[in-house]
């Protein structure tokens, strides 16, 4: 098996629970214990209410495509053999958005508003990424 050459997530103390969740096939968000708001960004304080207590919770893994782009230029060596590849901006049912890739559909089948659901891809023995596929 050839080595995985794409960039890997930069895991730190703040986002480690997210990546540990992905490893277990859970898409987690931080949920503020003060206002109940979800956030994708692993800030210590809630951007909505300033509360400093939040819990990582598993989400539905469902969302819709907010928009997308097709990369024809490979800015990373590891993506050179994949162009043109898609990047989709998914709006989760819980509210927050994240950039990811759509799998299980051709680039010309991607539509804004398309319902999608999370899938988990083990890219190295240690690292899993969360991608999305058309909701079935």
């Amino acid at each position: 098996m050839s080595a995985y050459r794409k960039p890997l997530p930069a895991v730190d103390d703040l986002n480690r629970p997210f990546w540990e969740g992905v490893r277990r096939r859970e898409l987690r968000l931080l949920r503020c214990e003060g206002c109940g708001g979800y956030r994708f960004r692993s800030f210590r304080l809630c951007p909505k209410c300033g509360g400093d207590k939040a819990t990582w919770v598993e989400t539905s893994g469902k969302g819709t495509i907010w928009s997308y782009g097709i990369f024809h230029k490979a800015y990373f060596e590891g993506f050179k053999d994949e162009v043109p590849y898609n990047v989709v901006l998914v709006e989760l049912a819980e509210g927050p958005r994240l950039y990811t890739n759509l799998v299980g559909a051709r680039n010309d089948q991607i539509r804004i508003g398309m319902p999608v659901e999370a899938v988990f891809e083990d890219v190295t023995p240690e690292v899993t990424l969360v991608k999305f596929k058309p909701a079935g």
Binding site: W66, S67, I70, V87, Y99, N101
Partner: protein
């Protein structure tokens, strides 16, 4: 809104720039220093007259001050982000107004071309906290963010890539009339459509040009400017608003909320409306930003930017000459600085073949998470 009493109280005394392109052997300090020499000569001032210094993209204000032998009373630095050109000019105006300095040198130096800046990939620092979290998915570059925003605009309003082409064609035509512009050969809508995709739906000709160059602007009080070499170009109005919350992803409204807020403030301060503008300088890092700017400032209804830019409306001779220098798409990507200089030169009537007839009011607009606008005028009020 800034105090309306500031209308016409601050003026541009001098502007200067280096050539644009590949300028081997010049770091950002050198480029800034060369531009500042030009701006001081333009104003008829010497280094000793400078008592305020704001540098941008130049990495260290202290080293720049040492290099130039300056001991200003007021000094500062802004990061090398395009939105910071307008913000820096506004900050300098405030410093002069409140007595922190009498004459502020604003200095920008960019050696991105020879230094190999790519605005995508491992070095990408664009966005809130940088783009690093998205690298595993191949998401990188400010161009891709704007491509994704434009895709959404197209979905909501039916905007088409061919409409963006009219922006690129207009600015290239202007660049053909500007001896300093880097890309001067005319292009057509078909050329735009045939240029390769970078991040689809954006083509190569929707992207700005990475180049080397330096730009400097000298600001002072209107009273002082009247005694200097060139006629003053008055700052009639300026304003700022932001959309920083949740800005790790693009906003739902294409920055319309901060754009509308700035529009309301800047026109009120200037005592003039959008229909009074003789030319526009719109921050065109990517062509869709021009649409977002025109819609947010009310030049056309929301969603109609694509139709608005068709038919040569933004070209010299059209109703709303925009980016008469060629802008970032065709002159050089000087991150808003050279667009502000072009506004000044239009007001002074120094633009030769690309001169707008009787340019009395020229507006700079930058649509970004930090929105700015500055209205320059031939008359103080």
């Amino acid at each position: 809104m800034p105090d309306k009493q500031l209308r016409g109280r601050i003026a541009v005394a001098g502007v200067g720039n280096t050539a644009f392109g590949k300028l081997y052997g010049n770091d950002p300090y050198d480029l800034g220093a060369r531009a500042l020499k030009e701006a001081l000569a333009d104003a008829g001032l010497s280094r000793d007259d400078i008592d305020g210094l704001l540098v941008s993209r130049i990495p260290d204000y202290q080293r720049f001050g040492e290099m130039m032998g300056l001991n200003p009373r007021f000094a500062g630095i802004t990061p090398g982000q395009g939105r910071m050109s307008g913000a820096s000019i506004e900050l300098a105006a405030m410093a002069i107004h409140c007595g922190m300095a009498k004459t502020v040198a604003l200095v920008y130096g960019n050696n991105g071309r020879t230094a190999g800046d790519r605005y995508g990939g491992e070095g990408d620092r664009y966005g809130s906290g940088g783009a690093g979290p998205w690298f595993p998915y191949g998401m990188t570059s400010p161009g891709a963010v704007h491509a994704i925003m434009f895709q959404r605009h197209a979905h909501l309003y039916g905007t088409r890539s061919e409409q963006l082409a009219h922006i690129a064609v207009a600015f290239r035509r202007h660049a053909g009339l500007n001896p300093s512009a880097v890309m001067r050969d005319p292009i057509t809508v078909a050329d735009h459509q045939a240029s390769r995709y970078i991040c689809e739906p954006l083509h190569l000709l929707d992207y700005c040009l990475i180049n080397d160059g330096g730009v400097a602007i000298v600001l002072t009080s209107a009273e002082r400017a009247r005694d200097l070499r060139k006629p003053p170009v008055y700052i009639r109005g300026f304003a700022q608003a932001t959309r920083l919350s949740e800005s790790y992803v693009p906003p739902d409204d294409f920055w319309r909320a901060p754009l509308e807020a700035v529009a309301g403030d800047v026109y009120a301060m200037a005592g003039a409306g959008r229909d009074d503008m003789d030319a526009l300088m719109i921050y065109d890092n990517f062509s869709p930003t021009v649409l977002f700017s025109l819609e947010g400032f009310g030049f056309c209804p929301v969603g109609e930017g694509g139709r608005f830019v068709e038919g040569g409306r933004l070209e010299l001779g059209g109703r709303l000459p925009t980016n008469t220098s060629g802008g970032h798409l065709s002159e050089s990507y000087m991150q808003g600085w050279a667009l502000n200089v072009e506004a000044v030169r239009q007001i002074r009537g120094e633009c030769g073949a690309r001169q707008v007839t009787d340019a009395g009011l020229v507006q700079y607009i930058c649509a970004a998470p930090l929105v700015t606008s500055i209205i320059y005028g031939k008359e103080p009020s």
